[in-house]
Amino acid sequence: MFRYIVRRLVISIVTLLVLVTAVFFLVRAMPGDPFLSEKLRPEIRENMRAYWGFDRPLYEQYFRYLGKLLKGDLGTSMHYNSIPVTKLIADSFPYSADLGLRALLMAFVVGTGLGIVSALNRGKWLDYACIIVAILGVSLPDFVSGYLLQFVFGLKLKVLPIALWRGFKYTILPTVALSFYTTALLTRIMRASMLEVVGQDYIKVARAKGLSPVRIVARHQVRNAILPVVTVLGPITAAILTGTFVIESIYAIPGMGKFYVVGIQNLDYSQILGLTVFYGAFLIAANFLVDILYGLIDPRIRIYRRDDRQA
């Protein structure tokens, strides 16, 4: 297990390096530079370029960036005059993380819950109701559901605030909007998985033992059915994170998404790179955690890791 973790860690770092490299060169490959939009006299522009080191060869800039990155320095924003990117992140990430975690938790609880209810009532109206919600959820993009929720609950019913982030009431709509797609996806996965598990021999054995239906579902069916859900938690975290850009701007939440968009609009190299590296590291870490969680639920995964080591 330990060597498996070390190996995964090395792979993660390589992934991150590839990410940094790709984004670094891609950003530079975009036409123009951060100072083109501002109406500057050519000599001042040249000065700015020299100040940020753009007059150096590209590979030299790259290695200097990597060197700074190793020390945890993500550079300073070119747009927001000399505010370190790390500070931008530190100020805005808590909002994004708060929203993202709420959405993830809600998607997991509601999604698996609906999946279970749906599978247990297969072919009945409750099942169909869940399927309809699931199809709606996967088909509606978050910018549509986000505005719809604002319209219905904020403007028409006037029960919930339509924007900002100032307490629990304010979190409800953005959380629902952000988790809608994921909830629907998890409902479908959980339902399919439950229906597959119910046909397994060990469920029949559990019935032959005289266990009550509730215990069979809780102890044997759900536990086995939840594995595919855990598998997709990694990619789903990614989906929710990217979803925050849109939702944050719809609900005027002071999260990280704004800086990403502004950074790209202004070709703010260090801001784009810094945020990408941060997101990348975050996602890689999330996937890593999911892998470990998977091993905790299914003991067989642990043995594969042992085999892994021998190989």
């Binding site: 021999d201 060990y202 102890r219 003991p299 067989r300």
Partner: protein, 356 residues
């Protein structure tokens, strides 16, 4: 099979009695009549082997006795009595309290019978604690260790926390058996308990089941298509064909003087060590009838070399051939006996299997 004489003599000690059991499933293709009027019984401490080829209704019968076949969609008629108590009409809650405690069941494939995400110890104790809430965790654990030792798992205390994948097929089947007998059931239904195992392991599992039967006094309903398994274990044999019992008797009677042409053919198609190895294996020509539309007469008639005119028209009743031996075959009707005499085993085997 309604042969009252054979059964009447030991009626007092009957543990489970199945009478006129019919099970059919509605599918998109029509109604499959999987079990078509089966009667059998198992006495206390006895082993009844149910023998037949795939799809003859063996497993459906077993699962109907346990009532773990969902109904509907299955349509179930007839009667199943455990010590005189009717099971088919029992409320589900009461039925549940019998499952696992009075009737234990072993399934065919030990690789899939155990929950991969739960330690085996817990899988053994959960049945125990379900049926008797007064059993403490420690007591249940003790009992699990005890039962694992009984089924021949070495160092049972150390195995409780282990998972199914850490055991070999034979060991898993031992665990499955331990799960089935932990509550000391009166009846153990074993649905092809050795089919998924290799031959050496098969023998060990059969030995184990025999000793459990002798030590615990558990009656066993053994379902198999393997004649070798039958001869090892069974006191009595019921031969199934197309959802019916075609012959029933004590093991030695059925083995030594099979009466039904199907039984004779089945016995003849066993591979044998004392024959020339270059000789082809014997098979029964034709295939079992379509259970969507079973034939009006004897289900075996189309494949039977000895079939009479009546065999294709009417279903034969059970004819008693002795104290405990009976066969559902028109050849044993008084008229047929008067005209042709009782068919000899040689004739049965030759004719029943003759290639046509």
């Amino acid at each position: 099979m309604p042969n009252s004489e054979a059964k009447g003599s030991r009626a007092g000690s009957k543990l489970i009695e199945v009478e006129g059991l019919r099970v059919s499933f509605s599918t998109y293709g029509g109604t499959v009549k999987a079990v078509r009027g089966i009667s059998l019984s198992v006495s206390k401490g006895e082993c009844l082997a149910v023998v037949g080829e795939s799809g003859c209704g063996k497993s459906v019968t077993a699962q109907t006795i346990m009532r773990i076949i969902p109904s509907p969609p299955a349509a179930i008629e007839g009667s199943v009595r455990l010590e005189g108590r009717e099971l088919l009409t029992l409320p589900e809650r009461k039925m549940r309290s019998l499952r696992g405690s009075e009737i234990g069941m072993i399934f065919q494939d030990p690789m899939t019978s155990l929950d991969p995400t739960m330690p085996i110890g817990k899988q053994i104790t959960e049945g125990l604690r379900e049926h008797d809430r007064s059993v403490s965790r420690a007591q249940a654990r003790e009992r699990a260790v005890e039962v694992l030792a009984t089924v021949g798992i070495p160092e049972p205390e150390r195995q409780l926390k282990r998972y199914a994948y850490e055991f070999s097929g034979g060991m898993r089947q031992r665990v499955v058996i331990a799960m089935a007998v932990v509550c000391k059931p009166k009846l153990l239904i074993a649905d092809e308990p050795t089919t998924a195992l290799d031959v050496t392991t098969q023998a060990q599992i059969l030995d184990l089941m025999r000793s459990l039967k002798d030590e615990l006094g558990t009656a066993v309903l053994l379902i198999t298509h393997d004649m070798g398994v039958v001869s090892n274990m069974a006191d009595r044999i019921a031969v199934f064909y197309a959802g019916e019992v075609v012959e029933e008797g004590r093991a030695e009677e059925v083995f030594e003087s099979p009466a039904h042409p199907y039984t004779a053919a089945l016995l003849r198609s066993r591979p044998r060590l004392d024959r020339d190895r270059n000789q082809c294996l014997v098979s029964i020509p034709g295939s079992p009838p379509d259970l969507f539309a079973p034939p009006p007469g004897c289900a075996f008639a189309p494949r039977c070399g000895l079939a009479l005119e009546i065999c294709r028209r009417a279903r034969p009743a059970g004819f008693a051939l002795g104290e405990s031996h009976a066969a559902s075959c028109w050849l044993y009707h008084a008229k047929a006996l008067a005209r042709h005499g009782a068919p000899s085993r040689g004739k049965l085997e030759m004719e029943a299997c003759r290639d046509r």
